[in-house]
Subunit: 254 residues, 8 copies
């Protein structure tokens, strides 16, 4: 991650220049303001983010035109950053792949990745992504891909919902071996409670909109997870696989 | 249950009188209308209920004055019926016990029972009442007392919530031996899903208002139970132990 | 139902092997874990279910590709099981019928059944499925088909909503003859209360999303059913005809 | 109702004065503005109301001090109007009765009436007030007292909820004889649908907060009534017995 | 309205036959049960309704196939009844018009009417239908057409919302001349409160789904109407123009 | 307002010191950080606020102990600032008045003011505070007192709700003379729409929790105001009289 | 703005005629009633609005046919008014541009403007429109265009959300220079709180429906803004850029 | 933590006994079932938890009698475990302190701790607990005390809400030094978004019920946190300080 070091160096240089008098306060302020993000007209790409958060800007694909996405990608590629686009329609993905040949698209989770350099393993253990049902897999995949491009070993364990509790219990060893667990469930959202009761590691719970009627597009699962009788569970927004993968990555780097 | 037969006989007699011409249609209509309930001014006690539902009117204690309750009890006692009062404040219970000496009050569930004759066992198997936590016990007790006075063998299994799943699994045999299961849970309301996945008997799920914050007084548990990924689960209202006990009794008589 | 017995035998054999020392604990554990479900990559088909619940896995058609469904069906057929698919789009149903010629599709309720052997009557009485209006029929049909393939005699009584109460009352005899009743209603969801007051049998109430405005896609009917002033009513999720048929079947087998 | 005529006369006189030039526009405007309500500092008593709505201002007792209520009552009494106070705590009612000796307080519905002159019968038929249960009676009484002081014959029919439908059907004749029906119900709020299906007269439906858990303080009953499958039903706010009595009175005067 | 009398006569004849012994009780019961509605397989057409409610069954067009609608219409036409179909898609309306040539379709409100005989004026005064905005007109039209076919003089007053209160006040005379008022409004739903304060006639308030954001598809308007500070207002479901027209008609016949 | 100028001067001095080299960057940063607020252990009093917002910190009385409030008041008094405390229980107010003798308490709105110097008129016009009913006055008073201590001429117009629209229209001149209007209403919350349609000045709408049943503690009024068909309306939180007075003050200073 | 003066003159003339006797009261009333709005059949165009609110009627494009819009525009153009159409589909905009050649369409915000005369600067300062993200820009643009056509200098500052707080802080000077601020944000809606804490000018907060899952189409942002811990914030409906621009304009004219 | 090792040893011994044949399968099963928890009649104390989760059972004080709590504490003390009781009323705390002299009660957060042995530092870095306002401190304290007794260095930073963003920014260094951050906020719940944007460590967000009106007892803050535009945030239930402290502890041990 050359870029990251460069940015840190640049910043240190600037501050030293202020100290030594080479740069005036005003100049320093001006450069600091322009440095962190460049104005593309429609959105401020935040290159400083690698300084503050350890990872480049992620592109939220929904509601952006293909032109906007391509211009952001170009900017990020020039900085030598790896790129993650979420909620990207397949049609746009195809256009992107024609320009960024090496990009990879995951149709289930509608995620696209593009690597300018190999991912460096930064996570210290394994992140295990679990789902209650098969229809929860797209959200789980978004979490898994996010965690992978952020430098983690990721494993998955799908379709082990609580109505057939033996399916989960037979995999107890894999639960124990994970350092962070992401548990994805819709409907009654009970799986994180059971998993949280079986392990002594942090659990990120992701409610999904899987279900119908009184599942209210994931609200039931969300509420159930917030009210879990098990401790050690943090909840993210409905279908927010990306957020769960991101949070798990931050934890796994510690 | 002498009363029950008597009522059926009375009705058959009346209908035969109509057929034979002993009673005019108008007389028959008039008697049929007066027979089923007597007017106490404030509430229509429904003695016909034993004909239609196999059990006397239950008294909902909340919002009734002690005078109203006593006058209803007197009417029911005269008919030779066993009595169940739910949601009865302790203070009123004490007054009742002074009049109806043999009545029994359950302070936890605020239920009072009074027997004019021994309960006859009508249920064919055992009803097992399960709770997730200790704070769910009052609701469970309401279910258990209801089922008992309706003529069932009742067993209880308390504090076996999903965050410590081994507590439940170690009691698998008792789950298997029950003919009907009542599962009571607050917070994330996940227990019925797990129980429903372990047995092949009907499960009555009772959400409780146990919890805080986003448990919304039991709504989260209610929604979770309605969205259970396990099949064979029927849900009753929040804290409705009586309703669950009643439903379980109807099933256990089959 | 040959398969069911086979599985029980297999399990007993395995446990005896453990007892006799023919199989080590580890082997036993390994076999027990692999036995209950086979991994199709996308979903774990739970053949053990027939052991635990008395019925093979039901396929939830929504969100599954035609390839996934066909591969699951093939697996189930090989085990000699009858198959029920719910929430299946007509287009997919047509493809399936080309492969599984004897399958039957119900376009109203979007249910498909496939029989590898005749259904054995397991229910002891009749399940009566009632609707308030004609638009509730698809949900009722899902309940009826489910109950039938689970081995029950099923009768239906449609369009007898409470605004024309005489329509229901004129069918009082049929209500009395049923052993379990499934009552399906949208809008104000009042029908289960009236039916529940007329019979002394368990009632499964199914709210439907029929209605508009403040019916909120079935929430009003759902709430009304949960708050029924009649006792002996268990409620399932909105439009969950399958769940109601399943619950009714479990009860009718008792 | 002398006052009513006086006001109309005054207004006509004023308008004629304007026409004849006796009063200037400005004078007319000024008098018109002062005429309709007098300023008591805290609330504008609207004597004009009898002109516009056919009935004097009703006093909403909640949140008003005893001094405020007494000063408003004094003003109304001087105008020779009959008075209706709703939502009045018993303690305040006692103080009022010491000053307005002939006033009558209804502790159940917390309504107080004071007559300066006998009520003149203005309603053309009978208003029938029906409740589902005994706990709905306070709200029903508020409706009944309101309708009576507005000049109507009022009859009541209490505790005829839908779970014992025969209780209602046996009173079919009374339903048919009413000109307007007010139907009061909590819990699942189904009674107006059944009543609305039995009569061809307007039905005012009043949801009450009777119930618990998922009755949500009357919301369930309110929603059920709004979604009634019967036609000819208008709904008022939860527990708004006054509003129902008022609406029924306006209709019964036609 | 020949049909109506016929039915009454038939019923009286039947009852007299019972009295005179010409018909047995069982025959009477059997005929009574079959008389009121005929079974079309999918829905029970309720011809008795004209007896009970003074108007034939209305057809709810939504969710019914064109075949179902045509078969119901045929049945109703044979009985000599006027027909009202609501929520009918334009495409289906065109097909119907090819069969029932004299039918009239209102594309704005998606209502279709068919007259077998001229409407007889049954309402005693004028029903005034008012809207807050122009986008509320479709719902208002449904109310107006319903009231007309039920035998009322109907007038309309559109686009007089509260943000330009002078538009309404300049029409005060028309408000005063109406016997019943239907007030249709979306957004903040304030118009019924203002109208209700200006007249002394019953007001039927109809919330519409006009609005966006926090109007929640009409819930805001619905709540506002239920909480109106004006008295004499009855509320119907969101967009329920038919219900309002029906209720207004029942009132106007008194 | 001596303090305000002092602070500005201090800040300018500090920045000049930085420029001239008298103060090092670190010193400047340190002083800047300590200057704006002093740490009382439990809360950070923000004296800088007068610089940023033109008014000292307001004390939210709810949930603070009398000791905490007194220590904050002491700190503010020493800085020579006028003080406003909102949501203060009467009991605490009495204790405060014993220490801060000149403080004034408004029991209706539970507001306390303390002046260290006379309020300087900063608002350019009149702020008119309007209520729909008398029960809305406490919230209105909170707005009025806030606006007064922030340097505005404030007038009030109470009890002019929309059900008696003439009460409002007769005061049209006062509406026109105001520069900013605060409109306070509960129940259906319609008043801001009507007022907003009558004036061409900004309107701050304040929903109150006045009402019952489906008013949901002010939610109905809040939603109605957000959906107003009149333009030029900004809404604050339920019962937030302070926020409305504050916003009106900011506008009136422009 | 010639038209505005004309209207005022016309009104004064009319009133003088009344005073001098040239016009009778009835004539005056009649003319006053017809003057303010003309009836196009479908909607009452309110030309009086320029008198009362300082701006011509804005056309809400949604749900209006192209014919309706064109006829309204024609009426407004003849009066010499500038025109603003909101929520206008692109397809309709194209048709309009063929008739009103000089009209300008903003595809992002779906707003169309048409000038009959140059906009006169009426606002005294600058209105700054800020967004949290790029997806909030359409709503912001609606606010900006509205404020511009109402005679204001408008500046924009986009994509400065709170997760990268330095982006906002680096623009502190622009915040300070604005006289009124419009802050547009979706998701957690936190930006107005931060901005409100940085400036001493009124802030209009606009929640947007940007987000997913538990953002509930903008409700979360709306609630957050209503509960802002910063003072001086008025909130408008979700996505109501027009309302915010209008409110800001009213303030900026003061 | 002697107990922890003992339990592990016991378990290993048992399994070895099974392997060596010293214990039969049935014996092993029986012992395994009895070992993990002892039955106190009302609740199953889960000593096995230290094996599975690394920390003894925490006692939820609410709804438990003082006798129940004391008997649980006695059981835990005998096992040599440290004890944490949450949601404990002050009155009960006083009784406990008379029995467990060395226990410490935190009246603000209603937490009680009792140490049988000194806490061993298990967390690798510092957990920083931040609040937006002073009224959020009780919830923050619950988090802090929980984290401390679970073996962490804990620091606090209170009253740094977003309306005075400089208060937070001036403490940037402390944010950077923390390994895990717990951010507690009520009202609009914006603080976690700002903090999450400033650090690259996991943030646990805790909504509190601080606020009024549309804060809905913490729902607004909860929703805002779930919709945060910053990544790396996990949310717990409203007021769930304990849950946040627990989750932070699990992370800090990694």
């Amino acid at each position: 991650m050359l870029y990251k070091k460069m940015n840190k160096q640049k910043l240190e240089l600037l501050l030293k220049s202020v100290k030594s008098g080479k740069a005036s306060i005003d100049e320093a302020m001006a450069r600091l303001k322009s440095l962190p993000f460049e104005d593309l007209g429609h959105s401020r790409v935040d290159h400083h983010r690698s300084l503050r958060k350890g990872f480049p800007e992620v592109i939220w694909g929904e509601g952006k035109t293909i032109e906007q996405i391509l211009s952001i990608m170009k900017g990020l590629k020039e900085k030598g950053q790896n790129i993650l686009i979420t909620r990207l329609e397949e049609k746009k993905a195809k256009t992107i792949k024609r320009v960024f040949l090496k990009s990879r698209y995951y149709p289930l989770s509608k995620v696209l990745t593009y690597h300018t350099h190999p991912v460096k393993l930064e996570g210290k253990g394994t992140i295990l992504v679990i789902t209650a049902g098969t229809t929860d897999i797209p959200v789980a995949e978004e979490a898994a891909v996010t965690a992978e491009i952020m430098g983690n070993r990721v494993e998955t364990l799908y379709d082990v919902g609580v109505a057939g509790i033996h399916r989960l219990l037979s995999q107890k060893k894999r639960l124990d071996e994970a350092r962070v667990l992401v548990v994805v469930a819709g409907m009654e959202g009970a799986l994180p409670s059971v998993v949280g009761g079986l392990v002594d590691k942090p659990v990120i719970a992701v409610p999904t909109s899987v279900g119908y009627g009184a599942s209210f597009g994931g609200i039931t699962a969300l509420l159930a997870m917030l009210n879990s009788c098990a401790s050690g569970i943090g909840v993210v927004n409905i279908n927010n696989g990306f957020g769960a993968g991101y949070m798990a990555s931050l934890i796994n780097r510690l």
